[in-house]
């Protein structure tokens, strides 16, 4: 069964076409990376798949749910790390996780401390989120996407603002989480990261899916994802 499906997804903002008939499939259990240059349509894709915005035309399904028709149900089955979102300014991370647990209807209890310790914000659990550094806010948002252990997670540029040590921990965690049978949909500019953690990637440009690559096959053939990416993107530019 596919965890994510889109068919002819188009999104227009006035005269600008952000997505132009995007069709892609991600199977359950994949760690899929969506790659593309700035303005290619990556964030629009995630926003539609997580029910934050509606497509101009086309269809989408996430874990069998239409995120356009049932955005709340879709988001209840997934975890989401948006690219540009901070935790609520005046709640502490501890209170924010309690709030997330309430909204998602799950008991989080010990997992909050576990996550804080894993990502290194345990000394900030009782500080209001507004006063945290950008990196600390990113850690809180990353944790909230996984804390209820969803079968599908959308993560948009998860490593932005994180220090190298935490980046390594996060990459390791994403791979382990995928190995437990969960699906991860990763959007990133960072091709090295995608090559390191993903099982398959899709390359998007001008709102269209221009190529799909199996990472294991690439490695077997001694090919480099960055060369493939540059060929696909620059060759069409």
């Amino acid at each position: 069964m596919n965890a994510v499906e889109t068919d002819g997804l188009t999104k227009k903002y006035g005269d600008l076409t952000a997505l132009d008939g995007l069709s892609l499939e991600v199977e359950e259990g994949e760690l899929f990376g969506l790659l593309g240059p700035n303005g290619a349509g990556k964030s629009s894709t995630i926003e539609i798949l997580t029910g934050q915005t509606e497509p101009t035309s086309g269809e989408a399904r996430v874990m069998g749910v239409d995120p356009v028709e049932n955005p709340v149900e879709a988001r209840s089955r997934m975890g989401v790390l948006p690219e540009r979102e901070d935790p609520p300014s005046f709640l502490t991370p501890r209170e924010y996780f309690e709030f997330v647990g309430d909204v998602r209807g799950v008991e989080l209890d010990g997992s909050v401390d576990e996550w804080a310790s894993r990502l290194g914000f345990d000394d900030k659990l009782d500080s209001i989120s507004m006063d945290l550094s950008r990196g600390q806010k990113q850690k809180v948002m990353f944790a909230q996407a996984f804390v209820h252990e969803p079968e599908l997670v959308f993560i948009d540029e998860p490593l932005t603002n994180l220090d190298p040590i935490v980046q390594e921990r996060v990459k390791k965690f994403i791979v382990e989480y995928n190995h437990r049978g969960n699906t991860v949909f990763l959007s990133t500019h960072d091709i090295k990261v995608a090559e390191e953690v993903c099982t398959r990637v899709g390359i998007i440009q001008d709102g269209k899916l221009v190529a799909e690559k199996d990472i294991a096959e690439l490695k077997e053939n001694g090919e480099d994802l960055i060369d493939e990416f540059m060929n696909e993107v620059e060759g069409r530019a």
């Binding site: 997580t50 934050q52 955005p71 709340v72 149900e73 879709a74 988001r75 209840s76 975890g79 989401v80 790390l81 948006p82 979102e85 609520p88 300014s89 005046f90 709640l91 502490t92 501890r94 209170e95 309690e98 709030f99 997330v100 309430d102 909204v103 998602r104 900030k124 009782d126 500080s127 209001i128 507004m130 006063d131 945290l132 948002m141 909230q144 996407a145």
Partner: protein, 460 residues
């Protein structure tokens, strides 16, 4: 000018992009029409034209106080209140411009815009009404009122900005300042007003101009130098109160989050008291100095309840300044639930604050006729809330600057407020009937507000 001009341009583009150049540019016209109608009503009630002109100055002074109070939320304003749209105010981060200078220019820019959007049309609207009631209008007279009104606004901004600057040094200093000001006003029997733009208006001359404008300069310069922009760089920590608050609100987790946003942001719960208190101040002033009770309003408790209900719009503004729909994009929450939580938050914050002012008004200033006010207050507040949410969703701060929407909003409020004010006047001759009418009419209004809120959930 190197900073001011681009800031003015930025402000124009920010709003004209949202509402269109015509939509934003027509805002002064809307203010003009609304003011002219209101002036007509005031003069028809028996006030004299000079009293009206003085009243306008009182009102804009309090408006200035409200605008300058943004300084109280200075730290959080940078990220939450002004938002990233006001990019030029952050020039000091990247360019060789001091933060003090960029904030000063930002305030001047706001003064220019308020003059264009509100103050000038407020003054110009006096002209047609003067023709109807007074018959004597001169260019010099209009110019005098324009200068006095703009100066009264600037004085309000300067005073509250100075209070905010004191607050950055010691949180108790503003209260001491208010106490000193109130005592000075009381013991001088209003003679202090000679040192305000009102003194210049009453007796225009070079001397009164100097006496009137000097306090504006003094408070402004003192405010800029006393203001400690670095205050509050420390990380703020709190014990975990979310679960208790959620339980107190009967499991309303979203509302608990919103209440925490409101009470923990700079200014705390005091900013709510302050913004609702602006109209309280205007009303008290009118009662004490214009003798409103003796002349016009027989049931000030009732009139005051209506004013308080209208002023709770500011509470909804505050709720939305710190709680944005983007906070929920990653969670399984829909706009229905968010609006419902905003209603709960609004109710638990605005009603107690409004009642507190109502009781202070009755106990300290003898507003009288409280029974009808006590009943009308929550009913009229429900109406005001329903209208605001229906028209502006979760963006009242931005959308009410749209000319068309602001006109509709004003009309919707006037439709309910005017009959209730009339009831407070008619109370002198028909006390029982006026009370029954006010309660019945506000009850119907509350039902309308409730229905509008239900529709808002579908609309937004």
């Amino acid at each position: 000018m190197r900073l001011l001009r681009p800031m003015l341009k930025e402000e124009w583009r920010l709003h004209s992009r949202l509402f269109g150049s015509a939509g934003f540019g027509a805002f002064p016209l809307v203010v003009f029409v609304i003011s002219a109608v209101a002036y007509f009503g005031v003069l028809a009630s028996g006030f004299s034209f000079p009293e009206l002109e003085r009243g306008v100055q009182y009102v804009v002074f309090f408006l200035g106080l409200s605008v300058g109070s943004v300084g109280f939320v200075s730290r959080d304003a940078v990220e939450n209140l002004l938002g990233e749209s006001n990019l030029l105010v952050f020039s000091s981060r990247t360019l060789p411009v001091s933060q003090r200078r960029s904030i000063s220019v930002f305030v001047v820019k706001d003064l220019v815009y308020y003059s264009f959007l509100y103050l000038t049309p407020l003054v110009v609207a006096l002209v047609p009404v003067a023709f109807l009631f007074d018959g004597t209008v001169t260019a010099a007279g209009v110019a005098l009122v324009w200068v006095a009104v703009n100066a009264a606004f600037a004085l309000g901004v300067a005073v509250s900005f100075f209070a905010a600057a004191l607050h950055t040094r010691n949180r108790h200093l503003p209260l001491a300042g208010v106490a000193v000001g109130a005592a000075a006003l009381y013991f001088t029997g209003g003679a202090l007003l000679s040192y305000t733009p009102l003194g210049f208006y009453e007796s225009p001359s070079a001397v009164t101009a100097a006496m009137a404008f000097a306090p504006i300069a003094v408070f402004s310069v003192a405010g800029i130098y006393v203001f400690d922009a670095d205050r509050g760089g420390e990380t703020r920590s709190y014990r975990d109160v979310y679960p208790n608050l959620r339980d107190l609100l009967r499991g309303e987790g979203l509302a608990a989050k919103m209440v925490l946003d409101l009470t923990r942001s700079s200014g705390g719960v005091w900013k709510i008291f302050f913004s609702v208190g602006i109209l309280f101040g205007v009303f008290v002033f009118l009662v004490l100095y214009v003798d409103l009770v003796a002349n016009i309003v027989a049931a000030p408790g009732l009139a005051f309840a209506v004013l308080l209900a209208i002023s709770t719009v500011s509470v909804y503004h505050w709720i939305n300044r710190f709680d944005r729909m983007e906070n929920y994009t990653s969670l399984p929450v829909d706009s229905d639930e968010v609006l419902r939580a905003k209603a709960v938050t609004f109710a638990v914050v605005s009603v107690p604050v409004a009642y507190a002012y109502l009781f202070v008004g009755v106990a300290v200033f003898g507003f009288g006729e409280i029974a009808a006010g006590v009943v009308v207050l929550p009913l009229a507040t429900t109406y005001v809330f329903g209208v605001t949410v229906y028209l502006t969703g979760t963006e009242p701060n931005e959308l009410l600057l749209d000319s068309a929407l602001f006109s509709v909003f004003t009309a919707a409020i006037v439709v309910v407020a005017v009959p209730l004010f009339v009831a407070s006047i008619a109370h002198l001759r028909f006390p029982t009937e006026a009370t029954y009418f006010a309660v019945g009419f506000s009850a119907v209004s509350a039902v309308v507000g409730y229905v509008l809120f239900g529709r808002a959930k579908r609309k937004w």
